[in-house]
Amino acid sequence: MTTRIALVAAAAVLVAAGSTSGQDIGEAPTFARLYDHTTLTKGSDVYTYWCWNCHGDGPGKPGTAALMARYNGAVPAVLTERTDLSAELVKVYVRNGLSIMPHFRKTQISDAQLEALAAYLARKD
């Protein structure tokens, strides 16, 4: 487990916590083409554009680390590995935020994109 102290955080003095995500070495998705969020229609693309950087696998993912600390392995810390998420729950978190995760506006993730994202994260495979 690598302890990763954000260098800014060392100065910042809020708690600079160590990553507890599942792996030290993670795979990066292909997101080079995802530079226009308004064009996204697939739930997986919406996830990669907006969610992966915090909730994906590998180092430097605070959302994954937070879910690891919250559930202590009872459910997977990486969102795409969860099989217990409902579409409705995903939508609630996206529009309301939680802790330091802010809520997302409709100019960022439209209602149609949120439907696609929620369906993608609620899939059971």
Binding site: A10, A11, T20, G26, E27, G60, A69, I100
Partner: protein, 542 residues
Amino acid sequence: MAILPPQVSAEAFAEAIRRFQAVVGAEWVFTVDEDVGLYRDSYSPAWGEGDEKLASAAVAPISADQVAAIVRIANEHRIPLYPISTGMNLGYGGSAPVLSGSVVVDLKRMNKIIEIDDVRGYAIVEPGVSYFDLYRYIQDHGLNLWIDTPDPGWGSVIGNALDHGVGYTYGAYRDHFYSHSGMEVVLPTGEIMRTGMGALPGAKSWGEYHYGFGPYVDGLFSQGSAGIVTKMGIHLMPAPEAYLSCMARVPRRDDIIPLVAEVNRLEHAGLIGMPNYGSPWSQSRDPALQALIGRPDGWNAAEVDRFVINAGMPYWEVNLQFYGPEATTTANWEYAKAKIAAAVAGATFAEVERLRFPLTEEQKHNARHRVAIGVPNLEIFFIGARSAFNPTPSDGHVWFSPVIPKSGEAILDFQETMSKAVRDAGGFPGGLGGYGPFSAPATWMYRTFIMISGLPVARNNPEFNKRSRALFDRLIDVAAQKGWGEYRTHPLFYDKIMSTYNFNDNALLRFHERIKDAIDPNGIIAAGRSGIWPKYLRGSQR
């Protein structure tokens, strides 16, 4: 509708909304609570209280012409507007307006990369373009460019520059306002203006030469309320061949003074990128050390220094970053080692990471400090996120970001002064954070240090937030007495902080107000931004 703009009737507001809908389409005017609520500042320390900053509605144009039409309509109906680029700015106000009742002009849909050139090294972008977008565009098109990204990387290139945001590479690039070049702005009258070389029709150098001709006005639009920026040029750095990250460590507390002096020389001569100061002790939970730091009458510098020396671990460290051809990065590291070793007895050195570009996606993803190699990410949210060390996370924070001189003496003075200020105020809310004998400066600014601290926010706990806000107020006062002023802040503290920049009976603020009155007589744009209020609100809001 929960709230209206001040001094605007429900009828006038409804008519303005109808006309906004005609400009952008009904889909892009948000008026129901469920949608307007998404413009709340999710880190607001006033969440749910009477002074929380709330929008009355939001409108999301797709072009500068639409922005201009919105501004003209707002003038007719006296509707205050508050522009946001991507509306992130977490810890400094988020997407909420300064004046409650304003209509937020949300520019996130305006996300075109207008022009980009990897020979001359610039891009021209719209406000909705995030650092992720620009980075991915560059990667996708195989351009020989790096961006300088802030933390986190999902903010707007334009919005960050306008807020004096900062990044992590070379000084000239990581000061994002400094590295901007030319703007397109919708003025408070609805007129569209371009600055710099953008003002010369047919000029091809908009993204290259900052100034154009005549008085430089771009600063009026940074942390300002003089217009809505709809395009901006930004300088971009060439992708280097190699990156070398190294660490220098020094044993004693006072060694920070010669260490900073040497590192300043290296940086100002262009030999290193951003240096990162810290202390191996900053996260220590050693009970004996904690007892020393937590003494009721305050920590004693000599005692802490003795503890560290006896423990045999360095007091300070600085991470040095070198960019360029591999041979020169190595040579510059050798030079840096020699200079620091000569200046500080007992200094030690270690190489941390050596990268050669281009990297694969896997290599980038797993690099130690991605922002240092221009790769945007969200790792900064480890600050405050739930973890084993922080099992009950806050709901955000507000950043206290004072500017201090770029010297070791100033760091030591700040630590002692502000530790006492926090102690005198009854401690840091929640017991986490604050200042102490290992507080290190943030070095994003090329020519100064920022001693940043995040004061925690607990949504639905007004008493907790009250403590954070009271401490913030107190820290502003104590800092100002020492000549330390904030570079950026949350809107709840705009007026207070502007009041500390008060040389000659607030000559600066009075000048801002004269400009505001002249160019925005109806007070349409971003009322209250940086403590600059339009005339009709000056008595009631400040």
